[in-house]
């Protein structure tokens, strides 16, 4: 029994570590696969995207939460002030729900590949009024304080970020996350 104890214990220990790592809701991304192989991936669209925007390493793009959350110079208050000072509320009944703009922050802190998706209060897909969508998209594009995503070794990564705008009858209520 003694001669088998050590390998059995080591095997069980390694199996348990694997089990622990599979916790669904807190494991970090390790995006080894190229873009287009993950939920939320975006591809360059010449009709929508600035050809001068470069994703530094498409095969290793991360998500914003891999770097411990939203990282912006001046933090969230700066983002909120950007929209508070510029977004013109246009009250319009029915323009309620969540409008999300997802984009890439590249390894130099520049942004591109913006994609817009809206849902109504029942989480059904919704196309918001053009004046609301265009304003929010334009204002998102002019945010220029995104911090570069760095790992513990100081390597810079591209990452996906989103902003969700909670709207009620055309009024901007909150910005998430």
């Amino acid at each position: 029994m003694t001669q088998y104890a050590k390998p059995i214990v080591l095997f069980l220990a390694l199996a348990s570590l694997g089990q622990g790592c599979r916790s669904a809701l807190d494991r970090k991304e390790t995006a080894q696969a190229p873009l287009l192989r993950h939920v939320g991936d975006t591809a360059f669209d010449p009709k929508l995207d600035d050809p001068n925007f470069k994703v530094c390493n498409p095969e290793r793009a991360q998500q914003y939460y891999a770097f411990d959350g939203l990282r912006y110079e001046g933090e969230k208050p700066k983002i909120e002030a950007h929209f508070r000072n510029r977004f013109k509320n246009k009250p319009k009944k029915g323009e309620s729900g969540w409008l999300t703009i997802r984009f890439v922050v590249n390894c130099e802190g520049q942004t591109g590949w913006f994609r817009v998706k809206g849902v109504d209060k029942l989480y059904q897909p919704k196309k918001f009024d053009a004046s609301i969508e265009q304003q929010l998209l334009a204002l998102t594009k002019t945010l220029n304080g995104w911090m570069v995503g760095l790992n513990d070794a100081g390597q810079a990564f591209d990452y996906y970020q989103y902003l969700t705008f909670k709207l009620e009858d055309g009024r901007l209520l909150e910005i998430l996350p």
């Binding site: 214990v9 622990g20 916790s23 080894q32 969230k76």
Partner: protein, 271 residues
């Protein structure tokens, strides 16, 4: 002996961290497809959100359309990446199949990621009915009891008295141990309702439980300011700044906590 300790530690970590079903529950005559689907869904291969991982869950669903765990897991990357339209039908399916397991989770996610306060309250109301007054449990990230989350929803909807009653009722519940942020939020509510003395007492309780939050000192400073005590105001606000610059504040990789403060807030008061 050291190998035994290593084994015990690793098994303990596995028990704490996993939220997976016990597939042996499906090991009944005529249910092999669901057992195999469960094994596939819990196999853990593929990074979360990768096509490989999502296909694994989809295959498990095809093998066993009642495997609620697979719907929930397939939904997770959509939630984390802000695709609400894709997330919702998947989590709704999990809830429909196993409401006791997933309704509290959906309620929490609606609160944390979307600030869907009315939706969260609806889900928590349904959960109350399902649990017949028994404990409805905690938010999935372990920061809050769902009744405190309920209180925070009332606060966000402008019903601050109801928020206070809800949180205080949970704190008074037999056998309940206050979580890290309970007294912080209660203190902020008390301060907002014009009771700085009660607020300060709450912040002191918060610090006793978890002296790692700039927020507790920040709001305590504001409560002292309302009491007309400038020295205590400055002392606590400076403490808040010290903590904040050392990264001691509420934090979450996905979202911001309620009552979260930022350096700009502190510096504005110290001008």
């Amino acid at each position: 002996m050291k190998y035994l300790l290593l084994l015990v530690g690793c098994l303990g970590w596995a028990v704490i961290s996993t939220a997976q079903p016990n597939c042996n529950l499906y090991k009944t005559p005529g249910n092999d497809s669901c057992y195999q689907a469960c094994v596939l869904a819990t196999s853990g291969f593929g990074a979360q959100g990768s096509m490989f991982s999502q296909m694994r869950f989809q295959r498990a669903i095809q093998m066993c359309p009642t495997l609620d765990y697979a719907y929930m897991e397939k939904a997770v990357p959509y939630l984390k990446r802000g695709d609400w339209a894709e997330w919702r039908p998947l989590i709704d399916k999990a809830v429909a199949l196993n409401p006791k397991a997933h309704l509290g989770y959906r309620a929490w996610c609606r609160y944390q990621f979307l600030h869907d306060y009315e939706g969260t309250l609806d889900d928590l109301g349904r959960l109350d009915t399902l649990f017949h007054g028994a404990d409805i449990g905690y938010g999935v990230n372990g920061d809050y009891h769902l009744n405190v989350t309920r209180g925070l929803c009332y606060k966000a909807l402008g019903q601050k008295e109801k928020a206070i009653q809800t949180i205080e009722a949970q704190l008074a519940r037999k056998g309940y141990s206050p979580m890290m942020f309970d007294y912080l939020h209660l203190g902020v509510l008390k301060w907002e309702m014009g009771d700085p003395d009660a607020a300060i007492e709450c912040f002191r309780r918060s610090i006793e439980i978890n002296d790692y939050l700039a927020e507790a000192y920040y709001y305590m400073a504001l409560a002292y300011k309302d009491k007309g005590e400038p020295i205590a105001f400055k002392r606590n606000m400076e403490q808040a700044k010290d903590y904040y610059t050392r990264n001691r504040h509420t934090s979450d990789p996905y979202t911001h906590h309620a009552d979260r403060i930022f350096l700009a807030d502190i510096e504005r008061h110290l001008k």
